[in-house]
Symmetry: C2
Subunit: 166 residues, 2 copies
Amino acid sequence: MRVLGVDPGTLNMGYGVIEERSGSQIAMLTCGVLSAPQKMPVEERLCTLYDGLLKIVTEFKPEEMAVEEPFVANNARSALAIGRAQAVAILAGAQARLPVARYMPTQVKQLVTSYGRSSKDQVQQVVKLQLGVMGLPEASDAADALAVAICHLNQRHLNQILNRGY
Amino acid sequence: MRVLGVDPGTLNMGYGVIEERSGSQIAMLTCGVLSAPQKMPVEERLCTLYDGLLKIVTEFKPEEMAVEEPFVANNARSALAIGRAQAVAILAGAQARLPVARYMPTQVKQLVTSYGRSSKDQVQQVVKLQLGVMGLPEASDAADALAVAICHLNQRHLNQILNRGY
């Protein structure tokens, strides 16, 4: 099972593709950050991010997609920008016929570290351990994207267990 | 010059295509509302609206696009939804290689009625008069989309006059 995780932003969109192998071992296939300079007009920015995601989908052929559903505080301006970035991510996945799941930050923490109030650092430690990579990219958007992908795999496992009727 | 105007929303997306003919007469080619039921998952909703807009672009071949940039008050939840809808509209236009212009509600009022504080009703009256249609569709999202398209044509005229150096 290959999962594309995305941490959406209109300037920086983190992405990471992971693959579950036998014995629930997880490997990282790629990760990084798509960037769109702030001085670009919005329409070009959105297209750049959309095209970038489609390229990753074409190259790495994930079967499912998981998008972080950002926590929206009371800042309507930033909520508007986050909504745009999220739509770009969701559309790229859905147009490529991938099932798209969305997770709140607390769900990501809960499902990755089994604790909903973990620090960003703790989440990244678990991500590194699970993927067996020592140094994750500096860009924490990429690490966040890997975390939401792992979160999705763990949610799938939980669903499978629940469906089996335990 | 054919312009596609869009009034973005995640449940209802208003659209209208107008054409400027000789003597700055303007004709309406189509208008309506794309709807995506609230019970649909977000990804399906966004795809439905995106595909709907692409269909209109393919059928009516507008040369430019104008999107209403919504007024975002302090409601972060609704700003997130508006951001998503706006991204869908902008992406559909930009992927079809249309130049995409965005207008604030006050700009639409100013450029359609020459007064930035017109009521919604006054804007719709002018839209009806300019398009020579007596009854506009009940759905005011469609009428808003036509207004932003007319606003864009008027802005283009202004730019042409300014570029001529008057």
